[in-house]
């Protein structure tokens, strides 16, 4: 196994774990995702397919296609994290109808906030993808 490919595999594993966790929390534990959570899901779920196929067929372009989604995920999860931390006034919340994004019970496993996990996952994926792309560029 060569090293750059292992990096790509790692990004895919992170996306698989994140997607499975999001589905578990939403569908099995029954926690309704808020609008911001949905946007983050939109950025995360396709990564399972894109990075999975990229790893399977050793296709460098897969990383290129995945990177914009990972960056969008960082932006959304970053916004969400600032929102629950209280750095952005609640009046700006775009999701007043339905499930609130700031007041929702988002803590699992002794107070770890789900948006933090989301942000960390997107950060790792984007960072590893950039390293992978650098290493494999000719």
């Amino acid at each position: 196994m060569n090293r750059p490919w292992t990096l790509l595999l790692l990004t895919w594993v992170i996306s698989v774990v994140a997607t499975a966790s999001a589905l578990f929390i939403g569908e099995v534990m029954g926690m309704t995702p808020c609008v911001l959570c949905w946007y983050q899901r939109i950025a995360m779920f396709p990564l399972v397919a894109i990075l999975g196929i990229a790893c399977y067929s050793e296709d460098r372009r897969g990383a290129v296609y995945a990177l914009p989604l990972a960056l969008a995920g960082i932006a959304l999860a970053g916004y969400h994290t600032l929102l629950i931390a209280g750095f952005i006034p609640k009046a700006w919340i775009p999701c007043s109808a339905g499930v609130s994004c700031a007041d929702q019970q988002l803590a699992i496993l002794n107070g770890i906030q789900i948006p933090w996990l989301s942000l960390a996952a997107f950060f790792c994926i984007a960072g590893l993808l950039i390293i992978y792309l650098r290493k494999t560029s000719k």
Partner: protein
């Protein structure tokens, strides 16, 4: 298949298995918690005022927390009825209210008022049959539910007066208190002799009832 393709396939398999095992473990835990909760609050399962269908001294009691505006409750009504037909002497049904949708509380009060006119089950069936007309979740139209009740032969004027009585308000309050204590968050929620379903479904309900019936065979 080279080693890379194989690793991708293996990881995917592991993730899938972990997910399914997680579902199984989680549901087990939830069921145990609910079972304990139900055992602790056994007195909250059946109240004097609760409507009962079937033989009073049946060995198996299905307690159903239901919402007249809930589609799944409507779909399960014939299913529960069929179960009762299958065990005519062994099973009775106790209905409890879980008015989670807006407008449901008014319909529940009407149902309770219908009990006074001895028209409870007729009105319930009529209201459930007409549910698609009146129970739009965003915009319920309780008037249409009242109309349906009238079709079942209810004296609507009298019923509406009764429905606003403190006694019926107390019934509703009691049921809401009980469902909170029992941790009922979805409708319909079934308890068969105090045991919750392992996971929600028609088959699971039938199995649990069959188990309890077999247990109570003399």
């Amino acid at each position: 298949m080279n080693s890379k393709k194989l690793s991708v396939a293996v990881i995917l398999g592991i993730a899938l298995v972990a997910f399914l095992v997680g579902i199984y473990l989680y549901q087990n835990r939830v069921q145990n918690a609910q079972e304990q909760q139900a055992a602790q609050h056994a007195d909250r399962l059946v109240r004097m005022h609760s409507p009962v269908l079937g033989p009073q001294n049946a060995p198996v009691t299905i307690v159903e927390f239901f919402d007249p505006a809930c589609e799944t409750c409507r779909a399960f009504y014939p299913i529960v009825k069929n179960l009762m037909k299958q065990y005519p002497t062994e099973v009775r049904l106790v209905l409890r209210y879980a008015p989670f949708h807006s407008g449901s509380d008014q319909v529940v009060k009407l149902l309770e008022a219908a009990k006074k006119q001895d028209k409870y089950w007729e009105v319930l069936e009529m209201v459930l049959a007409a549910q698609p007309m009146w129970a739009d979740h965003g915009n319920p139209n309780v008037e249409l539910a009242y109309k349906a009740a009238e079709h079942a032969g209810l004296d609507l004027k009298l019923a509406l007066t009764d429905a606003s009585s403190p006694a019926i308000e107390a019934v509703l309050q009691q049921d809401v208190q009980d469902l909170t204590a029992l941790n009922v968050t979805m409708t319909p929620t079934f308890f068969v002799n105090g045991r919750p379903l392992p996971s929600f479904g028609e088959e699971q309900l039938a199995q649990l009832v069959a188990q309890e019936v077999a247990k109570n065979k003399p």
